[in-house]
Amino acid sequence: MNLAAIRKEFPVYAEYAAQGRPLHYLDSAATSLKPECVMRAMDCYYRECPANVHRATYSMAEEATERYENTRLAIQRLINARQVHEILFTHGTTEALNLVAHSWAAAHMRPGERILLTEMEHHSNLIPWRLLARERQLNISYAPLNNDGSLHLEAFATLLTPDVKLCSFTLMSNVLGIVNPAQDLIRLARERGIRVCLDAAQAIAHIPVDVQSLDCDFLAFSGHKMFAPTGTGVLYVREKHLEQMTPFLGGGDMISSVTLEKETWAEPPYKFEAGTPDVAGIIGLGAAVDFMQQLDWKERQAQEQALTIELETGLKTIKGLRILADGHDHHGLVSFTIDGVHPHDVAHFADQAGVSLRAGYLCAQPLIQRLGLTAVCRASLSVYNNSDDISALIEALSNATRFFHGC
């Protein structure tokens, strides 16, 4: 697929153009725009085979189940999982991480044992563990950061003490754009028999993710940051853990048999997928994977890198602007502050020019505090962005800066 023509695949651009409104969407790290093929796949399910899944006693339900399960195969290929039943559907990264906390950690960790996290985590990779730690008397350590925001690798290694049973960290920071050296960190953990959970919510749309070469135990991501519908997500679980994990939610679809006295669980992955799932959303997720796989990774990454450099170069022309983790590879995600202009005011000026910019602590308050800040701005890119988007942002920032510094 030609990257220059890709914008046409995202109907929201035509919608805005028809209304005569500018749209420079620079918040793909929060959620990506959705291509036509994803919406069409969901629409087709509702029009052509809107039956429930996994209850196939008639052909329409078989058709729905096949479309739904095709997404599981597509995800297996996307992340190179060995087995298709290692792919669990969830409502997003947050639910996936909560699932690991409840179904694996709660069953396998004893009071006094420890979970290692880092100071750069999104709240969704902090709070599930904190809740669990409180409930089960577990301890938590946080691997510290260098002053530029990158992970302190030596300190991470030192914190892998004998009481640590699980470490969970982000593959790519949602604030800094830094991709952590996951393979090295995972090797260190595995040498000590520590299980590893990865938050791939940001990474999944920016770098190839291969669970076999990563050698992780768990990997969570959301559909909506990779062109799929909101409310869809994936948890990869290494096969050997599946049987030892307790169910997450109880209900229909996750049991094999039920009497008034006892119940037996369905085979994984269904054991962890209670209730009627978001069938249309998961089918849309499959279409999003197909969409991603039509794009050439090398071409995509080259385009992203070129646009990221253009963004950074433009940002550096703004007086008083500081880029977070400057000098690191940002993978299309750049956070910054401007002296004397609060990020929310910056975002307001951007919005008035049709530029969607995120401001705040980006669901990573401990990281923002560690960097000595109270809030930041973030511009994040995807395949549909172009130089016009960068120019519109830089002009809006220039106007905001002139206004605040000048009057």
Binding site: H342, P343, H344, D345, A347, H348, F349, Q352, A359, G360, Y361, Q365, I368, T374, A375, N399, R402, F403, F404, C407
Partner: protein, 149 residues
């Protein structure tokens, strides 16, 4: 470049020279409110003389709108009876959510924030300190919480 109607001169003046802004001593009880969407955080310690508001001590960080709103509030409420001030805070919060323009006749300089009614996310900025005042009032007068919306 046209000046954004949100950032009137009076707003910018209060943003640059916020009234009531000073560190709250650690030992002074106070109320704190955050806006998780944009990271704004303010604390308020109310200094009373009987029922009269002698001072609003405000500390924290925020955007131009939330900072100016804090400052305008400090200017507006100082010297008022604290119970009347609560009524005024409630009325101003309602006005920010309302359809009618916020006019100088009723609200003096607070009318400068009228523009935020057109921007949902900025309304949250303007309201933060008035909700904080309500929190601080209820901290001081816990039994009188009834009837609050």
């Amino acid at each position: 470049m046209a000046v954004d109607p949100l950032y009137q001169q009076i707003i910018m003046e209060h943003y640059r020279n916020p009234r009531g802004r000073r560190p709250i001593p650690d030992e002074s009880p106070h109320s704190t409110r955050d806006n998780p969407a944009c990271g704004d955080s303010f604390s308020l310690h109310l200094v009373l003389e009987g029922d009269l508001i002698r001072e609003l001590m405000i500390d924290g960080n925020g955007c131009a709108i939330s900072t100016a709103s804090c400052s305008l509030m400090a200017e507006d409420l100082v010297g008022q009876n604290v119970h009347d001030a609560l009524q005024r805070a409630q009325a101003y919060l309602a006005a920010l959510d309302g359809r009618d323009p916020i006019t100088t006749e009723t609200w003096n300089d607070l009318a400068a924030l009228d523009g935020v009614r057109n921007f949902k996310s900025r309304k949250t900025c303007a309201k933060l300190c008035w909700q904080l005042f309500r929190d601080e009032y209820h901290r001081l007068f816990p039994v009188q919480k009834e009837g609050e919306s």
